[in-house]
Symmetry: D2
Subunit: 147 residues, 4 copies
């Protein structure tokens, strides 16, 4: 993660592991971390006043994922309490890249450091919802993200 | 299951159990049998010449599930080969009910009887895709289903 | 739902609708309400001091779903804020039945009545985790549930 | 993709897009391509005589995903017929990397070239199933993969 990103810019979202998230290996199915990442991105955007359904109904456009690079370090298990982070690392006219982590909360003390389970970068682009053709991110969205 | 339904009217669709289908109990996550049921319903409709995307684009309507009653008898595991059945049991102007089963194929011999894992009835209704309001099933679909 | 169940016994759990929950019909994929129901059951059990992973590691047993009867009345959409309820309706030595609802929170005022989206009854049984054979619910769990 | 990999070494697996795979954008939810990739890897291993459940029961170990790098070029839709490929690109004592693609089959003619929807590299490592600690891939598996 870039050293220039400051802690206050890091968005955190809690996620609990349920049966639906696990697989027969007894751990969270790796594809499901992409769901956790998306929940955190969605809540980060919502915290900035950006609701994706309203956006689509209003602008006719939507964000789609164009690249995901994820490394899995340790596995989460049923009932684990996780923290999922989102941090904007690059903003371009038609896409943005968000750095994300999934951390395991310590059971024993809230002062213990959380353990990194997986991290990755997710690039999302703006498209016209009807044609799925790439397009420029609407100006009012860009302005909110630039702050 | 109704005794009046004859074997030839029963549609079968093979499904293999992958990691994505299982949970930390080491077995298929019960909600995923609804996905298996739907794959079999979709292929049954396709075998009758009914493609759901084309249907929606052409008619502006779609089928939605309005009731699911499912009993789980035994659990499937990773790598199991399943047979999923679909059998129309009731056809009404705006909805239909399909009886479905998930069966475990015997590993040892294809002549051994398959074991019943779960069964249920799924009622689906026709709605206008834009308003989600119930509507009558299009005539050409009804005619195909009545045969 | 049974009129004898009092409001204070009804457990509520908030669920937000994300992209992962929806399908190409623009609504929540019906099988995913079973996931929402399970999250609420899990949190209801956790509120009673019953953690499912610890339970399994300690007792060698686990709950599995044996029957689900669900009616879908109205559809949830992306970004909707839901309330999922859980209410124990029947407790037997080796199984229990929980009545559950998914409600749509009003966007406009917290005093408006929530709208019923779907409801159902879920029966879960206790099994030995290794053999998956039905077994009696451990006494300490039964005692907690009986209160 | 490496130019040294020859076509005959490329494993293909057909996947059909169902409602469960799509999201409210009308397209396949991007995390689900990881499921499609895994189905193809599983069937590729099965074609080599490697069954993952039997492997785990016999050896006490299993493969887990440690890294996924995926680029999404075009979106699949409901009812699309896909081809998912798997091709071993690197084999090491405790891990391997598989290059994978999802291709859209042409509706009109089987001789038309399939369209690339997404591609990526998936690295999987071998772990002890009980401790989840990395370990060397069993010799008999390595020998099969080296051929």
């Amino acid at each position: 993660m870039s050293g220039t990103v400051q802690a206050k810019q890091m968005f955190h979202w809690p996620v609990r592991v349920y049966w639906e998230d696990t697989d027969a290996g007894g751990i969270v199915f790796y594809a499901n971390y992409l769901k956790f990442f998306e929940r955190a991105r969605t809540e980060w955007l919502r915290s900035l006043g950006i609701g994706q359904r309203r956006l689509r109904e209003g602008s006719g456009g939507m964000f789609v994922v164009v690249q995901t690079d994820v490394r899995y370090h340790r596995a989460a298990r049923l009932d684990d309490a996780l923290q999922v982070t989102a941090c904007l690392s690059e903003l371009r006219p038609a896409s943005m890249t968000i750095l994300q982590q999934t951390l395991l909360e310590s059971e024993h003390t809230s002062t213990a450091p959380a353990e990194l389970l997986c991290d990755g970068s997710i690039r999302i682009g703006w498209v016209d919802a009807a044609t799925l053709k790439p397009a420029k991110i609407p100006k009012n969205i860009l302005e909110v993200l630039e702050q």
